[in-house]
């Protein structure tokens, strides 16, 4: 009997089994992105800048919120924006018209920003200008509730917008994105009287189902602008960021 296959045909040969060898790795799949993100974070921390990654579906009002944020702070906040879009420089140009320093990344067909793209952008986009170091850098991610959640950029905080013209069950539909949020903004709240199918309470309940006590702030950045709670949250986040607070010093000199 053949000792290899157990059959009764005598004198036949089997090829040598391939020499295989299994190596345990147990390493994160995203280690190259995570490595670049850690580099970015070090760079941000050295520059004393607080970095906020803004994510939402397309059209939830990220750019408008940034315009109104800059208007609300005036000279009291040195903010800068890195914009991510598949194509066009439109959003960056729009922000620049409002006096906001902005850098556009066009991703082509890529549906998200990654740490390498931010890294490259930082080579062209200094984190200080004639007014001094940047207080808050916003990264306006590609409008998409799926892919951006999987890529660490080196940011300190994630803010996810949920607009009232979307479904209030979005957190249950996109749990990975909403679990990543440090703050959820319900945007376009000035439209609530016109909408019969969005409830802020249902949105909160949907978010609670994800097992995190994520704070929720209601905003309206349209003509009836009400972003007071968001501005307060930004001030608190900036003040709690372990870096020299240029923002408050600047505000103090202004009032003096």
């Amino acid at each position: 009997m053949c000792e290899t296959c157990g059959c009764s045909i005598p004198g036949h040969e089997h090829p040598e089994p391939a020499d295989t060898h299994t190596v345990q790795v147990l390493k994160g799949l995203m280690s190259s992105n995570d490595h670049a993100a850690a580099h970015n974070r070090e760079h941000f921390d050295r520059s004393g800048v607080l970095v906020i990654n803004l994510m939402s579906s397309p059209g939830a009002g990220k750019t408008r919120l940034l315009e109104q944020t800059a208007a609300a702070f005036g000279a009291g906040l040195n903010m800068a924006v890195i914009e991510g879009d598949l194509e066009t420089e439109n959003d960056a140009e729009r922000l620049r018209r409002g006096g906001i320093r902005a850098h556009q990344i066009t991703t082509g067909s890529a549906c998200h920003l990654d740490a390498h793209l931010i890294h490259r952008a930082l080579h062209e986009f200094p984190l200080a200008d004639e007014r001094g170091p940047v207080d808050i850098l916003f990264i306006e991610n590609v409008g998409n509730l799926v892919c951006p959640a999987a890529f660490d950029l080196g940011q300190h905080l994630n803010v996810v917008l949920l607009s009232t013209t979307e479904g209030d069950d979005k957190p249950a539909k996109y749990p990975v994105m909403f679990r990543a949020a440090d703050l959820v903004l319900v945007s376009k709240c000035d439209l609530l009287p016109m909408l019969d199918d969005f409830s802020v309470e249902r949105a909160r309940a949907s978010l609670e189902g994800l097992g995190r006590q994520t704070p929720v702030i209601e905003t309206a950045a349209g003509r009836q602008c009400d972003i007071g709670a968001w501005v307060e949250w930004l001030k608190a986040s900036r003040a709690g960021h372990p870096r020299p607070n240029m923002m408050e010093e600047r505000a103090a000199t202004q009032t003096a």
């Binding site: 790795v25 994160g28 190259s32 580099h39 890529a110 890294h119 892919c147 999987a150 749990p175 097992g211």
Partner: protein, 144 residues
Amino acid sequence: MHEMAVCNELLAQVRAIAVEHNARSVGSITVRIGVLSGVEPDLLERAFTIARAGDYTAQARLLIETVAVRVRCRACGNENEAAANRLLCAACGGYAVDLIGGDELLLASIEMREVSDTVSSARRHDAQDRDSSGQISEGEDSYV
């Protein structure tokens, strides 16, 4: 669909490890993917068949171990499986829970073929070439 980007990251890691171990080719790659990782196993598999082309991984198989969502209740300490968008304690119904499994995105192991001492030195030489070219491209991207 960011699975192609994830797949390229995976294959870059696998190739580096194959070079390090003087392997001639990679037989199978085992990854562990949590339901809450943001990566869809089906899409990753499809991306893999496109992205695997190349020296070490052309014939490689991708084995995906899916990891269910598990939570531990902060109030009563109970541990249970949960749906990705209903992270609740099955015992007391509380939503103050910690995720203890289900967001993994891990390269677990690699099975490599024809690890042979006779080809080691040639491979090692090859690996050094790769390393130096890798360093050049990384240099462009690093902070100064």
